[in-house]
């Protein structure tokens, strides 16, 4: 079933580090683009303080799951919940700026969201009671 436990833990730690870094960037107001867009609501959504709080909360949750060896699936789902919308809104912002900007950050965040979702699946409880023993 997908990643084996050591790889799974390493990948979970990578997601935790990514969320922590995003939270730290948010604290220093470096989480979003500064280029202006024609869509004010999009800019207001992508530049909201909720993202910083969300990333900090999710990073704490993911670190707790790594340290306490429980709630890993929920922690990865929380990471998907924060990473996927953030990447979507920032990708839209990046695509609608006055001048071309790098889209690397939202695309990387989208990739991390996909990895986090795969980890959520991989961390699902094992159903070994149906194992045939072979």
């Amino acid at each position: 079933m997908g990643l084996k436990p050591p790889g799974r833990v390493i990948a979970t730690v990578i997601i935790a580090v990514a969320c922590t870094l995003m939270g730290i960037l948010g604290l220093f107001d470096r989480l979003n683009y500064v280029a202006s867009t024609n869509f004010d609501l999009l800019a207001a959504t992508a530049n909201n303080e909720i993202w910083t709080l969300g990333f900090i909360a999710v990073s704490v949750f993911v670190w707790c799951s790594v340290i306490l060896h429980q709630w890993q699936q929920k922690a990865m789902q929380a990471a998907v919940v924060i990473l996927a919308p953030w990447s979507l809104y920032n990708l839209l912002w990046g695509l609608t700026t006055d001048h071309p900007v790098s889209l690397a950050a939202p695309i990387l965040a989208a990739v991390l969201a996909v990895i986090a979702h795969s980890l959520a699946v991989a961390w699902a409880p094992e159903d070994t009671h149906y194992d045939t023993g072979r």
Partner: protein
């Protein structure tokens, strides 16, 4: 009535909820498929095991004992005679 900050907060909440629902549904669906696969493997393994036992019995000129589903009232009466 609704300022930009509030609307953006609502948008974030709704998109987060959608992301959660998609993730949850997909995770549960995959877990269910995995369970079905393991059940199928178990059934195949059980059928294979039963076939081997049947062959072993046949090699000794014996027939397989009846399963509870195959037992009739007559079989019960025979048991009572013993």
């Amino acid at each position: 009535m609704l300022d930009g900050q509030l609307i953006s907060a609502l948008l974030i909440g709704i998109s987060g909820l959608i992301a959660y629902l998609v993730s949850q549904t997909s995770t549960k669906g995959k877990a269910l498929r995995r369970e079905v696969r393991s059940l199928r493997r178990r059934d195949i393994a059980n059928a294979r095991w039963r076939h081997r036992v049947e062959l072993d019995y046949a090699s000794h000129g014996l027939t397989m004992p009846k399963t509870p589903k195959e037992l009739s009232d007559e079989d019960d009466n025979e048991d009572e005679q013993w």
